[in-house]
């Protein structure tokens, strides 16, 4: 009884943590419904306000960013639209509608810059791009549980050695996948030009030489940050500095 009580308690803790809804969940859902209704009524500016306020309050949901991106597209603001689609990709990377709308939005821009190609690490761990960080963590937790259960059973049933080793391998791979995802999100920071035009300068000064010009919605890779300036890169040859306020990240 004593041990079973401990196990029950632990399970309760786990389930509670997994199913706890954030505070104010009903208000959040009401706001979502209201924003969707405003969008349906083609009151895009108002729906944007509601979506943005929800995000500002800390809500993070891929579909929320997707809806906000759609509202911006309807308003003709391709820069914020692409930015929200990029944010949505972090949560719902396999969503086909999102991919289609992002492609559509990029086609509306003047520069028509596609997202940068995958690096070697991403090619090697190709599945990482199809899952968000939460899914990878869930998978790792499940594999962790499966591995320890298998390890426990193996103590009484030695024939489970192969299964134990296999699950250990998968568990380690899932940890590495999480690592790759974190590296991707921290290093490959994408930025979207929000201003109508932005001059890419050779240095962090307004009077520096303008190397090239980008237009709203252009996708760049942010490689450095210094004061109010961001270093952006289009490819191996084209890079420079832009004011931070002109770029959404």
């Amino acid at each position: 009884m004593k041990h079973s009580n401990i196990i029950s308690f632990l399970l309760f803790i786990l389930l509670t943590l997994a199913t706890t809804l954030p505070a104010g969940a009903s208000d959040y859902l009401n706001d979502i419904v209201r924003a969707n209704t405003l969008y349906a009524e083609k009151r895009y500016a108002e729906s944007i306000q509601v979506y943005e306020s929800l995000i500002h309050e800390g809500a993070s949901n891929g579909y929320l960013h997707y809806n906000l991106g759609n509202a911006y597209i309807r308003m003709g603001k391709t820069g914020p639209a692409i930015l929200n689609y990029i944010h949505a990709q972090e949560w719902i990377p396999r969503d086909e509608n999102l991919a289609a709308n992002l492609k559509f939005a990029i086609q509306q821009t003047q520069d028509k810059i596609e997202p940068p190609p995958l690096g070697t690490l991403n090619i090697l761990f190709f599945w990482v791009n199809d899952f968000n960080i939460n899914e990878l963590v869930y998978f790792a937790i499940i594999m962790n549980l499966v591995f320890w259960v298998t390890l426990t059973l193996w103590m009484n049933f030695p024939f489970l050695k192969v299964a134990r080793n296999a699950f250990l391998g998968v568990l380690l791979l899932s940890f590495v996948s999480i690592g790759v995802k974190i590296i991707n999100e921290s290093n490959l920071k994408l930025g979207v030009v929000l201003a109508e035009n932005v001059d890419v300068k050779s240095g962090r000064a307004v009077d520096a030489i303008t190397l090239f010009q980008l237009h709203e919605g252009a996708l760049v890779t942010v490689t450095d940050r210094h004061d109010d300036w961001l270093e952006v890169r289009l490819n191996d040859e084209q890079k420079g500095w832009v004011p931070q306020k002109s770029l959404g990240t």
Binding site: L10, L29, N67, W91, A100, Q107, A140, N144, L145
Partner: protein
């Protein structure tokens, strides 16, 4: 000293020899020309030798113009001779001259320049005659003949020119020239030369026969010039010592003894042929095809549906230039899709006549259902035997095409016209737009990032569970196999249960005995001793040794002694309960200290 004298004498001798030799090199240089025969036939060749005496270091002589001969070098030889201390050297340049014309032919002087001085040979006149009795080949070591399959041929008709070499002795180094005018004939090889044995006038000859096909290109009387073959004949000398085994061995051509080589140039008789023009009014589609031909057509599969594939095979065979035959695709008026295959051609030579077979294959795919007739194939040609134009034809092929049982479109067999009719229309894009927003609330729930507590619980709890499980399993195993541990773990439980059952005892003596037993067994279980056999004194000592408190050890001893005393003195109900309570308390205290 003797050795030195000998050396000096040797050197002096060598000097004198060289000195005299030097004198002889510079004196009396002579150049002469000789032939091995001065009368010969066109079949023979002569050897011209130019000998330069008393010197070796000379350039090759400059030969005169020899338009009536075919000249080939036959090598160079040099010789050195000592006659009465006189050294004589010479070099000989040899040439083989093959006459091309008859009559008295003068071989002019050859010139050579030695040490800036010009030397010339004398002129030589040789008599060249026609080959003796060229019309009869009686008793000859070798002879040739040539023949044509016909003395009359039509323009483009195949003629077979056959050249035969007859030889009774070994023939080597054969060099055949078959001259003919390319403006009059085109030529085609008829395979490898044939070798056989033939008896001519009672003499056995080896025959080498070569045939070529000639196709006349122009009308008129045409002469096919002589074929010329150069060869070396090896005549064996008829020795008298035929029974001598060594003589037999060394007469073998390998040793070069007993064998007399003879260079020969044999010419065949020139031949003539009359080339006739083809008759006028050639049939339509005639492509200068001359010979005898047959044509057949076969259809592979006749039970066809629309979209099926069948093969139409047209075979042309016969005598003549089959290789040049070609057919256009049959005109099937878009009823079939036609895929022509590369024609296969096989040529055979039979009785020195070129025969051939050319197979044309067409893959046919019917496009429409219904009765169809494959048209006949016709091949106009000129039959040289009957001197008439003829037309070889195939029979028409009738077949019925069923509708297709498959419903899919047969895109791969559609003709261009069909392509237009059956091409899937492209859907024109009229506009582009974004896809709609998501309204499902379950999807729009906020995905908060995992807290550290959640992740810690998720990753840590299985580890904790594993540790607990491992501990429990280990303990379970110990309980199975570790008896002292098992006794120690169950001592309190067993003693408590037995003490509870003591409530119902009425006999005070029995009560005291059992209580004493419970206490001793508890201590025995705890200390892994035989509880029933130990005394109160021993219990106290063992408890102290096992780090139990001295007070409790002493209390235990006293309680046991009390129980032993009471086994012989009656107790009241109250004192049994008190004793029971004391025992329970003592065991609890001991359990805590364990």
């Amino acid at each position: 000293m003797r050795i030195c004298t000998f050396k000096k004498a040797a050197l002096l001798s060598l000097f004198l020899v060289l000195a005299f030799s030097g004198i002889s090199f510079g004196q009396n240089i002579s150049v002469t020309a000789t032939v091995d025969k001065n009368s010969l036939t066109l079949e023979d060749s002569l050897q011209l030798s130019i000998v330069i005496n008393r010197t070796k270091n000379t350039p090759p002589p400059q030969l005169p113009s020899l338009t009536d001969f075919k000249v080939a070098s036959a090598g160079t030889s040099s010789s050195t001779q000592y006659i009465n201390t006189q050294r004589s050297v010479s070099i000989t340049y040899k040439y083989r001259l093959t006459p091309m014309n008859t009559g008295a032919i003068v071989i002019g002087p050859a010139k050579v320049q030695i040490n800036g001085k010009n030397y010339s040979t004398q002129a030589i006149t040789v008599e060249v005659q026609k080959a003796s009795s060229s019309t009869t080949n009686t008793n000859k070591a070798a002879f040739v003949e040539a023949s044509l399959s016909s003395k009359k041929a039509y323009l483009g008709e195949q003629l077979v020119y056959t050249f035969r070499l007859f030889h009774r002795v070994e023939a080597k180094n054969l060099n055949l020239q078959l001259p003919f005018d390319k403006s009059w004939f085109s030529k085609e090889e008829l395979g490898e030369p044939k070798t056989y044995i033939k008896v001519v006038n009672g003499l056995q000859y080896h025959v080498q026969e070569l045939s070529i096909a000639l196709f006349p290109l122009k009308n008129g009387l045409v002469e096919v010039p002589s074929a010329i073959i150069e060869l070396d004949l090896y005549h064996r000398a008829q020795g008298r010592n035929g029974l001598d085994p060594f003589n037999q061995i060394f007469r073998d051509p390998f040793f070069g003894r007993g064998v007399q080589p003879e260079h020969k140039v044999l010419r065949s008789q020139p031949l003539s042929v009359v080339v006739l023009p083809l008759p006028v009014r050639a049939p339509k589609g005639f492509k200068n095809l001359i010979g005898q031909f047959k044509i057949t057509a076969e259809l592979g599969k006749r039970d066809l549906e629309v979209g099926d594939t069948t093969t139409l095979t047209v075979t042309v065979s016969g005598r003549g230039n089959v290789r040049d035959i070609s057919f256009d695709e049959p005109d099937l008026k878009n009823l079939f899709k036609i895929y022509p295959d590369k024609p296969e051609f096989k040529q055979t030579v039979h009785d020195n006549q070129i025969r051939g077979e050319k197979v044309f294959k067409f893959a046919l795919v019917p496009l429409e259902a219904g009765s169809r007739t494959l048209p006949e194939f016709s091949l106009p040609y000129f039959d040289s035997k009957s001197a008439q134009y003829r037309i070889a034809k195939t029979n028409p092929i009738f077949l019925y095409i069923k509708p297709s049982s498959a419903k899919e479109n047969l895109n791969f067999v559609q003709s261009r016209q069909q392509d237009k009719l059956m091409t899937k229309p492209e859907i024109e894009t009229l506009g582009t737009d974004i896809l709609p927003i998501y309204t499902e609330l379950d999807k729009l729930q906020s995905d908060s990032s995992h807290s550290l507590i959640f992740m810690g619980a998720g990753f840590g709890s299985p580890v904790v569970l594993f540790i607990i499980s491992a501990f429990l399993m280990k303990r379970q195993n110990r309980m199975k196999y570790d008896v002292p541990f098992y006794r120690r773990r169950n001592a309190y439980k067993n003693a408590s249960q037995r003490l509870k059952q003591m409530q119902e005892h009425s006999d005070s003596k029995e009560f005291a005995r059992e209580l004493s037993e419970i206490l001793r067994e508890y201590v025995g279980d705890k200390l892994n001793l035989q509880g029933k056999a130990i005394t109160a004194e021993e219990v106290q000592v063992r408890l102290k040794e096992s780090n139990y408190a001295s007070l409790q050890a002493e209390e235990t001893r006293k309680l046991l002694e009390k129980c032993e005393t009471l086994q012989y003195a009656p107790m009241t109900q109250g004192s049994t309960k008190q004793l029971l309570g004391e025992s329970e308390n003592l065991i609890k205290v001991l359990e805590k200290q364990s």
